[in-house]
Symmetry: C2
Subunit: 179 residues, 2 copies
Amino acid sequence: MSLKHAIMVLLETEAGSGYDLLKRFKQRLGFFWQASHQQIYQQLKVMHQAGLIDYSVDNQQGKPDRKIYVMTEAGHKELISWLNQACKPQKINDSLLVKLYGGHLLDTAVLLEEIQAHREQHNKALSIMLEIEQQYQTLSDLERSKLALPFLTLRRGILGEKAWLAWADEVEIFLMTQN
Amino acid sequence: MSLKHAIMVLLETEAGSGYDLLKRFKQRLGFFWQASHQQIYQQLKVMHQAGLIDYSVDNQQGKPDRKIYVMTEAGHKELISWLNQACKPQKINDSLLVKLYGGHLLDTAVLLEEIQAHREQHNKALSIMLEIEQQYQTLSDLERSKLALPFLTLRRGILGEKAWLAWADEVEIFLMTQN
DNA sequence: CGTTAATATGCAATTTTTTGCATATTTTAT
DNA sequence: ATAAAATATGCAAAAAATTGCATATTAACG
């Protein structure tokens, strides 16, 4: 289980509340790690119980209390240890491909619609990533070198999405010449 | 949840035991749907309770009994209905990218080793897929048209793996010019 | 001014997945 | 011949993720 470790990677550089972490997940790891707010709040609770993180309560007037989490020494050690272990192979479960595999049970038009809907999502994701890439290129050498590793994860997203879209072209060509 | 539906896609064309299904998963859906034998046996049990599938016992001498599962009418309907619904977006959790994102906490050499180990896996996967693609090309028109949709899922695998490897080149170049 | 949407936090029940165990046969290697 | 590995089936406990609910504030819209 590495939601724990993803949270720690985000907390390591900066303390924050559950909601802060949710936002960081969406903004920074969104393309390769998805976590719901329930998952995050729950995980923070058990990580605190396990002594990996600590929190201080930010008592805001009127508003509900915010727990600002920080890494503990034990958490840091655990993170470093995880980073040094080989990670288990990524589990892939892609229902679109299951559907395509069983597509003979289905109307070609329905299949085509589904692919096109997915294409929109992938197109959108790609254009966001390309924009971030552009912004990165305008940074100073120093800034760029600080962000070099996150930038490489972005590159993965970009190459992955381009490959997906190239595949979708093949699928659409096939499905449209099928009637 | 679509393990259920993946099983049904496999059972729809041919009845089989839990182990048969495990093998089909590995051989046919392995690149985009991963399921353990425990998951499959368990799922078959609940699907039977739900009336989606039925089984006959193949009483083998000495060997443990085999339950040969077949789709029921209700199962078929459920499958068709699922196929016609838009599938929820694929959940991605890629710990390698989390690790790379937090790679500043880590020795470059360790990171490089990890990437290279993954590269081997991806290389292997790609070469298996390319071989299957070659075999497909030698089939008759009729056979090819029957397998057209599974072939498209294979194409997804091939394009995806090529993109992964191209990305790994970028990462390795960066990491090796880093010392 | 009131409604709706977005921000922000969290609990509890259910579902799903993972891990660890248990068992028995057949095939392969030494 | 014997040991080890692969084949084949399954249960049960634990861990993790999902779903549904609950609440309260702030911002935006008409």
